[in-house]
């Protein structure tokens, strides 16, 4: 079963369904990392709201996605881990090892808006700020 991935502006949003096999999850990892390049995405949201089980394998895939997307220059945030899942993951001893999480899609988008801004670079490429900074340099 393919995981639907929505492209919204500079972000990719993957909505994980409840019944995914290990192969489906590995496919999602491959596909997201590839799409980060194809769409030049700066952020990835993996929404697990509908997921019934986050076991050690699923957890590893989520970490992989975040780290691999990170190597490609995109920030990842996992959203929608419901209380039962959080409880089970703690009992099982699982960790997302520093991967960003947010309560829901809305919070996830807010997180990405905050963390994917690149003001320095934008200023450099903007026609309005470049001459101004040059002028300042002359004085």
């Amino acid at each position: 079963m393919d995981v639907p991935v929505l492209k919204q502006g500079q972000y990719l949003i993957a909505t994980v369904q409840s019944a995914l096999t290990d192969a489906d999850l590995a496919q999602l990892r491959r596909s997201l990392v590839e799409q980060v390049g194809r769409f030049r995405s700066r952020g990835v949201i993996v929404d697990v709201t509908a997921v019934d089980v986050l076991d050690s394998f699923a957890c590893r895939i989520l970490r992989d996605i975040a780290h691999m997307a990170g190597f490609r220059g995109a920030e990842t945030v996992i959203v929608g881990i419901h209380p039962d899942l959080a409880f089970t993951m703690v009992q099982l001893g699982l960790s997302l090892e520093g991967v960003a999480t947010a309560l829901d899609l809305e919070e996830g988008l807010a997180y990405l808006d905050q963390h994917t801004r690149r003001p320095g670079r934008r200023a450099l490429h903007s026609g309005a700020t470049l001459p101004e900074s040059k002028t300042r340099g002359v004085h």
Binding site: A19, L20, T21, D22, A23, D52, V53, L54, D55, S56, F57, C59, R60, P83, D84, L85, F87, T88, Q91, L92, G93, L94
Partner: protein, 134 residues
Amino acid sequence: MASTEHIAIRSDRDVLLARQRGRALGEQAGFVATDLTLIATAISELARNIVLYAREGEMELQLVADDHRRGLVIVARDHGPGIADLERAMEDGYSTSGGLGLGLPGVKRLMDSFDIVSHPGQGTRVHISKWRRS
């Protein structure tokens, strides 16, 4: 009230099927949502171990009851290579596959009882159970 299901475990699809059947049986027994998640996750971990290490095996899911309570007993069985050092396998952070190394001790924490028998070259049998909170 003895309802038993046997599920052959040969692929990642069977891992999914086993945990879905476990959840359904748990619902039938009246487990709360949190426990259903714990049960489904424990089944997922044990079933995956079968596929990863033994390639094939079987899971048995059984609804049990005595005068006072209802529960779910799960047995995972394979004739794979077995575990040479059980004591080490039950330590957090140990895994022969180079994975997370959290499998068995984690499953033990999810359940009310955990029992494992393994003989190198003969296979492994893990017996776990969860009782309904009343």
